[in-house]
Amino acid sequence: MRIFGENGVRRILMLTAFSAISALLLIALFILNEGLPFIFRYGVSNFLFTSEWIPAKGLFGIFPMIMSSIWVTLGAMMIGAPLGVAGAIFLTEYAPPAVMKIIKPTIELLASIPSVVYGFIGVMVLAPIIREYFGGPGLSLLAGCIILGIMILPTVISISIDSILAVPRSYREGSLALGATTWQTTHMVTLKAARSGIVASIVLGLGRAIGETMAVIMVAGNSVNIPSSALDSVRTLTANIALEMSYATGMHRQALFATGVVLFIVIIILNSIASTAIRKRKTYK
């Protein structure tokens, strides 16, 4: 890059720095352009808060999908967050370093297993167990929560580990020197210091759970239904788009893009929360 000179380099770098913004704007533009006009024509509250999704009759209420997305995500968090954070604490504070050296890469390897593989295991192993022992069709809210809970484990564990490790050793040593047990140190000193990083890991896991599509389509059964029990089949916002996009035309297609708009806005809000938490961690350091 000698030919560009120092200023040329700066300009090129600045240009590339706008790639992320332009990508985001482009995505926003295209999705909003396809979906927003529909939302306004159909009515915001009609679209968000009615429960009839019958495209053939021109009824497009996504309330059941919103509720299902919330339940699936909450359920996944109830499984993935405690397991993941507990795992991260154990690995950083209590396990011998050798164990950590083996387990951390293994967990990161799991992050690159395609989500469809998790989904398939859900169909082949989990759904029959649920059908057999708890009843219902097996493909259900419960199955979705468990599979998503497992899928977010790598995200939660690896980011939590990073933020716990970022807490300076001197903090722990100070606490231990004062006669605290290791758990007292962990929970009163280390975790307090690493809190925003752990929160960020959970929020990012949350984002992953809301956004997951293929695995949920495979295990959750996809009924347009406000769930009344964990054994009911449900359809999330993402599943709604991926399931029906291929056959949708006209209004129906716009309504699916509008579902995308809702998802897009929710994710932007969630990420604002997560990135504030992460930045807090940085200023703390």
Partner: protein, 278 residues
């Protein structure tokens, strides 16, 4: 009743141990499940022959090509863009409202569900730019998808290079770009490689965005404008449409082993690189 700190300690440690054990067991089960059913299917023949009858029999050769090409294009675009962006953010500018917006946009991009990338890629690359379902459309969509991962991890890595290194370089008369090239980037390499690995993993494992943009043709592509099927998509179609569970497991096993090898290779090269520098 008040639990003594000592008992508390014991209780908590056993709970934590149990939670970790459960996590690790689940994860081991998943890998074991796939490998147990998939390894018997794997053979050189399976990897190098064309699928027959939509993949019900035969091998997975064209999907391996797809699995290599799509992430390759994505990374070819996202790595330079991502690293340059993070170099700019860390080395060439102060914290301003603009850098804050860039970071926020990066974080948002990272959180966008893959199905939205799929929708976007379909209307933008496939339709608006008329690239059709192709390696190029799929690769570009994946590039946008992994860009934030690379920006974030490189930024983190560049920031962790001690300030003193830069000061020494400047004091020896090096320009800012020379410092970045010779001092900062080499030292940040391990972190950058981690980001690249994560991106490879994510783009290999992606299905939703790829089906919408690269299609699912089983033929061997002859140009970047041909449609292609990746191994993940192939697995999804085989398993879900019930074409052949056996070949689905074989594909998944091949995929897991490939990811494992890529990971090991990357860490090995990285360590060699670090050792050589010292």
């Amino acid at each position: 009743m008040i639990i003594s700190p000592k008992n508390m300690q014991r209780g908590v440690v056993s709970i934590l141990t149990a939670a970790t054990a459960i996590t690790v067991l689940i994860l081991i089960f998943i890998i074991f499940f796939i490998l147990e059913k998939g390894l018997p299917v794997l053979s050189l023949n399976f990897l190098t022959t064309n699928p027959q009858d939509m993949g019900k029999s035969g091998g997975i050769f064209p999907t391996i090509i797809g699995t290599i090409l799509l992430p390759a294009i994505a990374l070819l675009i996202a790595i330079p863009l991502g690293i340059f962006t993070s170099v700019y953010l860390c080395e060439y500018t102060k914290e301003t409202i603009i850098t804050k917006i860039i970071r926020f946009a990066t974080d948002c991009l990272a959180g966008i569900p893959s199905i939205i990338f799929g929708l976007f890629g379909y209307i933008f690359f496939v339709n608006t730019l008329e690239m059709g379902w192709s390696i190029l459309s799929g690769g570009l969509t994946l590039a946008v998808m992994v860009l934030p991962t690379i920006i974030r991890t490189s930024e983190e890595a560049i920031r962790s290079v001690p300030q003193i290194y830069r000061q020494v370089s400047f004091s020896l008369g090096a320009s800012r770009w020379q410092t970045v090239k010779k001092v900062v980037l080499p030292n940040a390499l391990p972190g950058i490689v981690t980001g690249v690995m994560l991106s490879i993993g994510r783009s290999i494992g992606e299905t939703a965005a790829v089906i919408f943009t690269a299609g699912s043709s089983l033929r061997i592509p002859t140009s970047l404008f041909d449609s292609v099927r990746t191994m993940s998509v192939h697995f999804y179609i085989l398993a879900r449409e019930g074409l052949s569970n056996q070949n689905a497991y074989g594909t998944a096993a091949a995929l897991i082993i490939a990811v494992l090898i890529i990971n090991i290779l990357a860490y090995w090269t990285m360590h060699r690189f670090i050792a050589k520098r010292n």
